[in-house]
């Protein structure tokens, strides 16, 4: 019996010791085996990737970078941002030194302090005043700059050119008729439904994506989702007539106009897929999605993109993007390496021959893979930079879709009448989940009590999330 007891005591003390050993964290070395300063870079393609073009490109960039900067080294890391693994990676300090994520995650990165402030590094590299101020606000935390934006997008309407033609919604010059407001979207949708039998318009409803895409519609109706006082206490403010009107609009699309899909539980993948295979006339989406539709074999001449319509109160769209963050605990030198590397791969504001080659092969690769080339995106920069001009030139060379099909979207990018708004500042995912629920309810229940739903959602969101901010 005694041995058993001793063993138990030993085991349980081992349990406790290692339990608390887990709390301490070591410092990662910034020198590799050759004694060079190095950074690891995430999103690296795996050695067995089918996208060999990209692997070749990035390997070339690494070789060039290391010969141009003999004291520095780049270490590939195939990790991609994924919430399933992010926190464990972060807690065990296994994040790549430079890792990519959507803007959406910046809040989590800031609250966990999983970043190294790059404001001094940016100053050293001459980036002061270069970022678009609207973007700069999103990537800052007080005086600190959290992350380096590489791409930004804004939402517009993607439409199926084929269905538009059949519904008589194309102009003779190859541009589509642009719905001016959401009611016209409903009208257009009805025409598509009548002439082709396909859904006119759709909105996803699952995995927080319904809420995400519904927010710009709600904003255009004048909805304000939350307000902060001077102590940063947030109050939910969407229990309003505007919100009821916006939701009534969605409900009418389903029950009065009958232009939605039969399935009311669809996630983003299904949403894109149904659009790509020609089952939906119009979807609300970011411009860069058009290049992904090739995976469902959407014919290039069916892809079109136009501006987001106006709502009763505002003409507004949602903006977001992709960004590169330097993990916490990086040295100044590592920040310099990372910024230099971002410039090397064409994300900075430096146009060298190597970057030119990268941009050229990038577009060529996209065109070779039959990805749609021709839709433009928002710039992260304050003014038109050399690199943006060059990018535009090359893009025009490799265009493979009818530019008239996407003209209205490309023009809308510089239309200052359309307001740009980022995601809600706090608890955005939680808000989307709440909105997903309402949207599912009104799409599956013809007699849903919208007023009651909104009232309950507003109260729940306040009690469950906004009251628990910390």
């Amino acid at each position: 019996m005694k041995t058993k007891k001793t063993l138990l005591v030993l085991l349980s003390s081992a349990l406790l010791i290692t339990a608390f050993a887990g709390c301490s964290s070591g410092k990662k070395s910034d020198k590799n085996a050759d004694g060079k300063s190095f950074i690891s870079v995430g999103n690296w393609p795996a050695q067995n990737t089918t996208d060999t073009n990209y692997l070749e490109t990035i390997t070339r960039q690494k070789t060039e970078f290391e010969s141009e900067n003999p004291d520095w080294a780049i270490e590939p890391d195939t990790w991609k941002f994924d919430l399933d693994t992010f926190y464990s990676k972060a807690a065990s300090r296994q994040l790549p030194t430079l890792y990519y994520s959507n803007f959406t995650e910046i809040g989590k990165i800031v609250s966990g302090e999983y970043y190294t402030d790059i404001s001094a590094g940016l100053k050293r590299a001459g980036y002061e005043g270069k970022f678009n101020p609207a973007v700069l606000k999103l990537i800052s935390n007080g005086d600190e700059i959290v992350t380096f934006p590489t791409d930004t997008y804004s939402l517009g309407i993607a439409y199926n050119v084929d269905l538009f033609k059949k519904a008589g919604l194309m102009n003779s010059d190859g541009t589509p008729k642009q719905p001016k407001d959401w009611n016209e979207v409903a009208e257009f949708g009805k025409k598509i439904k009548e002439s082709t039998g396909k859904a006119g318009f759709a909105i996803p409803t699952m995995a927080n994506c319904g809420g995400w895409l519904f927010t710009p519609i709600a904003w255009s109706y004048g909805v304000e989702f939350m307000k902060a006082d001077k102590d940063n206490n947030y109050t939910a403010t969407f229990n309003s007539q505007e919100m009821i009107d916006a939701l009534q609009y969605i409900s009418d699309l389903k029950w009065k106009n009958g232009i939605f899909l039969d399935n009311s539980l669809i996630d983003l993948t299904e949403y894109y897929k149904q659009f790509a295979i020609g089952n939906i006339g119009m979807i609300l989406t970011a411009g860069n999605v058009t290049s992904q539709l090739v995976q469902y074999d959407m014919p290039l001449d069916h892809i079109g993109m136009m501006a987001i319509p106006a709502g009763p109160k505002k003409h507004i769209t949602l903006t977001g993007g992709y960004t590169a963050t330097i993990a916490d605990g990086a040295t100044d030198e590592q920040v310099d390496i990372a910024i230099k590397w971002l410039e090397k791969v064409g994300s900075g504001d430096v146009l060298t021959d190597s970057v030119k080659q990268t941009i050229e092969t990038g577009y060529k690769r996209a065109a070779d893979r039959n990805e749609a080339v021709g839709v433009e995106s928002l710039s992260v920069w304050n003014s038109e930079t050399e690199i943006e001009k060059f990018r535009k030139e090359v893009r025009e060379k490799y265009v493979n879709i009818d530019l008239n099909h996407v003209k209205l979207y490309n023009e809308a990018l510089s239309d200052t009448d359309i307001e740009l708004q980022p995601e809600e500042p706090v608890c955005a995912q939680e808000l989307y989940a709440v909105l997903d629920g309402i949207i599912q309810e009104i799409l599956t229940n013809k007699n849903a009590d919208i007023k009651g739903l909104v009232e309950k959602a507003n109260a729940d969101f306040q009690a469950n999330y906004l009251n628990n901010l910390d």
């Binding site: 005694k2 709390c23 539980l265 799409l443 469950n464």
Partner: protein, 301 residues
Amino acid sequence: MNKKDKKRNKPRRFRETLSVWLLLLPAVIVLYLMIWRPSVMGIVWSFFKMNGYTPTKFVGFQNYIRVVTNTEFWPVMFNTLKYVFWSFVVGFVPPVIIAFMLNEMMHARRTLRVIIYLPAILPGITILLLWYFIYAPDSTGMLNMLLAKLGMDPYIWLNDARFTILFIIIQMTWAGFPGTMFLYYTTIQGISSDLYEAATIDGAGPIRRFWNVALPQISGLLLLNVVRQMIGVFQVMQEPMVLTGGGPNGASNSVGYQLYQYGFVQGRVGQALALGTIVFVILIIATLFYFKLNKKVEDNL
């Protein structure tokens, strides 16, 4: 053996059992790293304010209060019980019946055994995608195609909030019954054929044979499976995640999926740990009950 002998035997017995302990060591290490340590840490950390996976401050029951006062908590608990309820209504009896039928088969038993086991060898995600198409609420859904053949309108299946959980349970039953069925099947196979023959000579038909011969022999197993199924279904997560996202409007949200949302979507690790601990406590009570029952059943065999 007297007391003196016992004492003298002790060191020798430890030496004798040393090899056993050494053999156990790898399993103990794995269990320690993968099960015991995370479980204990999870419970400890559920009392901390978590920054990602790093505990920062002891906050007492704050995480628990937030979990329980969340307006979704009781609806989600109730949903989970609904899952358990429907799983008994729909899923408990078929494995028993099928196992017995398989045993009664005279021809093609071997082939049938393989065919019936088929769902168990399919990967979980394949099954879910399969059922996604079976339940598709438009004209492309398999069930709706059948309805169309019968001249009926398409039905919205998983979109009907009243029955979403029932439909998910039907899917889970289909995917899960072969394993349970084989437990019953092997037990029934183990029943002495004398009993069957005697019953048959006495004029008992299949139903009588099932009721009076097979059922008494598997009653212990039935009892155990009640608890096993309860524990299993209580943790339901990937089915609502893939098929409905917990919808429509939370109608199929489960405790497991809520936990996943806390931990991996909203980044509320402290709350995820607190809810995990609550589920752990509920299930450990059920498990203790299971062990007690198991002992009783084994003693009776």
